[in-house]
Symmetry: C2
Subunit: 122 residues, 2 copies
């Protein structure tokens, strides 16, 4: 976590969900974008393809996940990838860092609600 | 509020605090940076000079605040500005929008905590 930043970065938030799916053995490159877009629809958040794929690429590059090709049957040959958890110790440390940043971010936003909408600040 | 964005923008968060100070009649251009930096120090957030002054400039440009010069006494002539609330109806509408975005942002972050750290999601 960088020092003195505002709130949690979108990239960290997306990675967290991807690691969760990888832990469950169901992180597929082609599906994760649509899954995340559907999952956050009710909260008005639609992650872009670019953000999702960059996050996935960083997870791979940093060793948090590994990937294996899966040959999909059908008229056209198409290579799918399944992503699996890589270095578990490293993943755990990363998740701990992200948790601290989530807690900090929620505290900042809740302070703003209290200060600006409860009519109590001096 | 733009559609499908992640969480609240730093600029909106800063403007909210500046409007609050302007409403109290104590928003001074030279002091607000230091005040905000001190106020969020405990939560690891140190807004930069650039972000703070851009936010202030946008508030002025959009008519949310107006400014008046104050001549500061001292050895050197220096012009200070005090910023006052401008169009109150517009400010109220803006604050309502920001409140909705704060609520939405907190809900997103809390969902991530629940999904990824409570060991309950499928």
């Amino acid at each position: 976590m960088r020092k003195n930043t505002f709130i949690i970065k979108q990239r960290a938030f997306l990675k967290l969900y991807m690691l969760h799916e990888a832990e469950k053995g169901r992180l597929y490159g082609l599906q994760i974008l649509e899954n995340l877009q559907n999952y956050f629809k009710d909260l008005g958040y639609k992650p872009t393809k670019s953000e999702v794929y960059k996050s996935l690429h960083e997870l791979l590059k940093d060793g948090y996940v590994t990937r294996e090709p899966i040959i999909k049957e059908g008229a056209e040959m198409q290579t799918l990838y399944i992503y699996r958890i890589g270095d578990r110790e490293k993943v755990k440390a990363y998740k701990d860092t992200v948790k601290a940043d989530l807690d900090r971010s929620i505290a900042l936003l809740q302070r703003a609600l209290k200060d600006n909408y409860s009519q109590k600040r001096g």
